[in-house]
């Protein structure tokens, strides 16, 4: 049997022991077994006692079975067992002893919750110094209980008839007489001090820890804080409503708090992520403060009205109630705001940050896509990244539109949805998962902006895709022209030349008496030659072969074939061939227009390359007044230039000549 199994068995044993003793105790309370102690306990208290003892036992057992080495489990198990064994059924002790032990061991009720606060949640003390504090606390409890055991004072109340078995014992008398009894005070201070130290330990852990540990501690802090809070409320209500409630309320309340601490520990260890503890703390703080203030208000107004109107008047009660009712709503929101600021500061600031950004977006000062850094700031997670959902691609992309593949790091991932449709995903520190309040709050606040950013990123991507496809189509067009030109030269033209050569050979081998055919054959060959020239012309129109030599060479050829003087000033350096082709066809069209419609007498073609852009201008001295009309020569070229990401502008004042300018990006 392994150590683990041994520990588990021991835990089951202790829990079973607790249960057996508890059952026996209950039987005594119901009078089924004779007991003197049981008489003190009213029947209605039984459920509270059962819960207060079974809760730590059950939680301790549950933890011990899963994590047998968890110290917390043993504190709970042993704590509950000790209480039930010492204060419970008087099996071991006879009447007097039972009363004496019960009188001495009440601090046990507080011992285990305090012990938990020292080592929760990891089972270790905060530091070496805290071990001494823990030891001092334990000493105080043990010392107190030991001295109480020796107390020779007689019992009082209903038990006064039972003799104290310690009466007249030498140690007790000596303690009482010698003044060593002052040690009581020290031990009392020790017990109270250990309680304060426990609160301090929780507070320090809350400050030092983060993530899961912090949340677990928060659970404990919440349950632990209920005890003093409950005491305060009971005290206040008894002050207002009278003493009768104390017995009925205070003790059951304390027992329930015991169960609450155990439950909180259990939740903290097993299900800390299940409930939003931060929200629970927040609400508890708000409503506790509200209740305290309302009671105070009721008491204050009842008291002062009682002085004015006279106590016991129905008016006093009515008016005090009215005051409370009126104050409720404004007080609640005011306290909520205060608590939010104090206890949910991160969420409060985070949401405020996002709202501020939203305002900036609305005012047009920022773009929604800039939300990434804002979320990092709002969540306090510098490593967070936002990815946007692309429904068309079925993938996520980053803000630049690059598709993100499977995540490589161990960041957590939280998706943001809108009407059940994914909008974005946030990759963030897993610790944020434990702070759902902050995470959800901030993401909910930024949902609309995220959706806007997503749409903009998607739109930009689609636009880029359309632009790229337009460029591809135009480039494919150039390639097609090139192929066509090639086919004309190497296909049809070649065949015609070969045909001509054959006719010539035929002509030269004709017998002398067939010489009469000579002129006819000459004519045929002339026709073939003309056809070849025509084809060459057509091919040049489809795509001038001179473009192979660059834009400058092609434009000079163009200038030479022009009926009016064309001044060409083009650098010899090369740019991508598709850009050259686009520029060439624009110049060609502009030149044709200048000759055909503008009655120009001369044209100047200028090209210059600057900052990765090719600028070409074609200026004539003709009539001007040209407009770019849809579907006509220059408009088609405008589309072609735009496909390369360029622009085409026409300046053509009536009577002032026409100037066509093209700017086409040409990365080198």
């Amino acid at each position: 049997m392994s150590v683990m199994q041994g520990l588990r068995l021991a835990a089951v044993g202790i829990a079973a022991g607790t249960c057996v003793l508890l059952v026996l105790g209950i039987l005594q309370v119901f009078g089924l077994i004779d007991s003197i102690n049981a008489d003190e306990i009213p029947l209605w208290m039984v459920p509270f006692i059962v819960v207060a003892l079974l809760a730590p036992t059950a939680v301790g057992l549950a933890i011990a079975i899963r994590q047998p080495r968890n110290v917390i489990a043993w504190i709970l198990l042993v704590g509950a067992f000790a209480i039930v064994a010492l204060t419970g059924p008087d099996l071991i002790f006879t009447d007097g002893w039972a009363l004496q032990v019960g009188r001495a061991t009440w601090p046990l009720l507080y011992a285990w919750p305090i012990a938990v606060t020292y080592v929760f949640p990891n089972g270790r003390f905060l530091s070496r110094r805290w071990r001494y504090i823990g030891a001092a606390g334990a000493l105080s409890f043990v010392g107190f209980m030991a001295m109480a055991m020796f107390d020779p004072e007689p019992f009082y109340g209903e038990d006064a008839s039972v003799p104290n078995p310690m009466a007249g014992n030498a140690v007790g008398e000596w303690l009482n007489d010698s003044g060593v009894g002052l040690v009581w005070v020290v031990l009392w201070v020790g017990i109270l001090g250990s309680l304060v130290a426990g609160a301090l330990a929780i507070r320090m852990r809350l400050r030092r820890s983060s993530g899961v540990e912090r949340l677990q501690t928060l659970w404990l802090a919440w349950a632990g804080a209920l005890i003093p809070l409950g005491l305060l409320l009971c005290g206040l209500s008894s002050f207002v409503l009278g003493d009768s409630l104390v017995d009925w309320v205070l003790f059951p309340f304390l027992l329930l708090m015991e169960a609450a601490v155990a439950a909180a520990v259990g939740l903290a260890v097993s299900r800390h992520g299940l409930y939003t503890i931060e929200r629970l703390v927040n609400r508890t703080a708000v409503y506790a403060a509200l209740t305290v203030l309302l009671i105070a208000l009721y008491a204050g107004s009842a008291l002062s009205l009682g002085v004015v109107i006279g106590g016991g008047s129905a008016w006093v009660t009515a008016l005090a109630t009215l005051a409370v009712a009126v104050a409720f709503r404004p007080l609640r929101s005011r306290i909520q705001d205060l608590v939010d600021r104090r206890y949910a500061r991160a969420r409060y600031e985070g949401v405020r940050r996002v709202r501020g950004f939203e305002d900036e977006v609305r005012d047009g000062r920022r773009a929604p896509e800039e939300i990434g850094p804002v979320l990092r700031e709002a969540l306090g997670d510098p490593g967070a990244d936002v990815h946007f959902w692309l429904p068309s691609a079925g993938e996520f992309c980053d803000v630049s539109g690059a598709v993100v593949t499977a995540q490589a790091d161990d960041r957590a991932r939280t998706e943001v949805e809108r009407d059940g449709v994914s909008v974005a995903a946030l990759l963030h520190d897993p610790a944020l998962l434990e702070r759902q309040d902050l995470l959800r709050g901030v993401l909910d606040a930024s949902r609309l902006t995220l959706e806007m950013a997503r749409l903009r990123v998607e739109l930009r991507l689609q636009l880029a895709e359309v632009e790229a496809s337009r460029t591809r189509i135009v480039e494919a067009g150039y390639e097609e022209r090139r192929r066509l030109e090639r086919d004309l030269h190497d296909g049809a033209q070649q065949r015609l030349v070969s045909l001509g050569v054959q006719i010539r050979r035929l002509q030269r081998t004709l017998p002398k008496d067939a010489a009469i055919l000579g002129p006819t054959l000459d004519k045929i060959v002339d026709e073939v030659g003309a056809a070849i020239a025509d084809l060459r012309q057509i091919a040049a129109g489809v795509r001038p072969a001179r473009l192979d030599d660059g834009l400058a060479a092609a434009l000079r050829d163009l200038a030479r074939s022009s009926p009016i003087p064309v001044d060409v000033s083009v650098p010899a350096e090369r740019v991508p061939t598709s850009v050259e082709a686009a520029a060439y066809f624009v110049a060609c069209e502009a030149l044709t227009n200048a000759v055909k419609y503008a009655s120009a007498s001369k044209v100047a073609v200028r090209a210059v390359r600057e900052n990765g852009t090719l600028f070409v201008s074609i200026a004539d001295d003709g009539l001007g007044g040209a407009v770019v009309r849809r579907g006509r020569g220059l408009a088609g070229l405008e589309d072609r230039v735009a496909a390369h990401g360029g622009t085409l502008t026409v300046v053509s004042p009536r009577g002032g000549g026409t100037r066509v300018e093209v700017a086409i990006p040409c990365e080198s």
């Binding site: 015609l496 030349v497 054959q502 001179r546 192979d548």
Partner: protein, 217 residues
């Protein structure tokens, strides 16, 4: 004269070979790509290689590159490049850089006598530049250009000089006497500031080089 032909269109290649053989030349090899051309030229060391510019595998300018390579490896073999269209990138340079080089459009073959004359001229160390290319070199004269000072007749004569023709050839073409042509030639050379040279080949080179420098391309 021993000739090799590199032309990928078989019909044209055979027609061309027939024409040359009819004229009494010896076509020693017919190939369809640049690689085989260099091989047969190395093997036969012919007087002349007639080369198509576009040949397999890419149909770009294999023929022209092979021509440049032949000039380097086999300077005694003259080269006549045939093209479907004017692509003067290398042509003008090659004509201006040495003897025994010609560049003609393919349809010049149909003027059989002119073509055979060009073949003779090139293989004899002369040159031949297609009139289409010459036209590009000559036009258009800018202001203050020495070419602008030529008379129309002189421009005509200059063009024929650039094509590689001899004085006799020019005279025949223009229906002039050789004497008149000589007068025009010395006037042209004077106006352009070129040396008076009796040697036709050197004169052509000087003229082409001049025009190439003057031309903006």
């Amino acid at each position: 004269m021993r000739i090799v032909i590199a032309e990928d269109a078989v019909l044209l290649r055979e027609g061309l070979a027939g024409l040359l053989e009819d004229a009494g030349h010896d076509v020693v090899a017919r190939v369809g790509d640049a690689e085989s051309l260099l091989a047969v030229v190395a093997e036969h060391e012919p007087d002349l290689a007639i080369v198509d510019v576009r040949m397999p595998p890419t149909y770009e300018d294999e023929g022209m590159l092979a021509a440049v390579e032949m000039r380097r490896l086999h300077p005694r073999t003259a080269v006549l490049v045939l093209s479907q269209h004017v692509e003067s990138r290398h042509a003008v340079e090659l004509v201006g850089s040495g003897n025994g080089f010609g560049y003609l459009l393919k349809d010049r073959v149909l003027e059989v006598d002119d073509f055979l004359e060009a073949v003779e001229r090139v293989s004899g160390g002369g040159s031949a530049l297609d009139p289409e290319v010459v036209k590009q070199l000559l036009a258009p004269p800018g202001e203050g250009d020495a070419l602008a000072s030529l008379t129309p007749r002189e421009r005509e004569v200059l063009g024929l000089m650039a094509e590689g023709r001899t004085n006799g050839g020019i005279a025949r073409q223009l229906w002039l006497t050789e004497k008149t042509v000589e007068t025009h030639v010395s006037s042209i050379l004077g106006k352009l500031g070129l040396a008076q040279d009796g040697d036709t080949h050197r004169r052509v080179m000087a003229v082409v080089t001049y025009l190439r420098r003057a031309a903006p391309a």
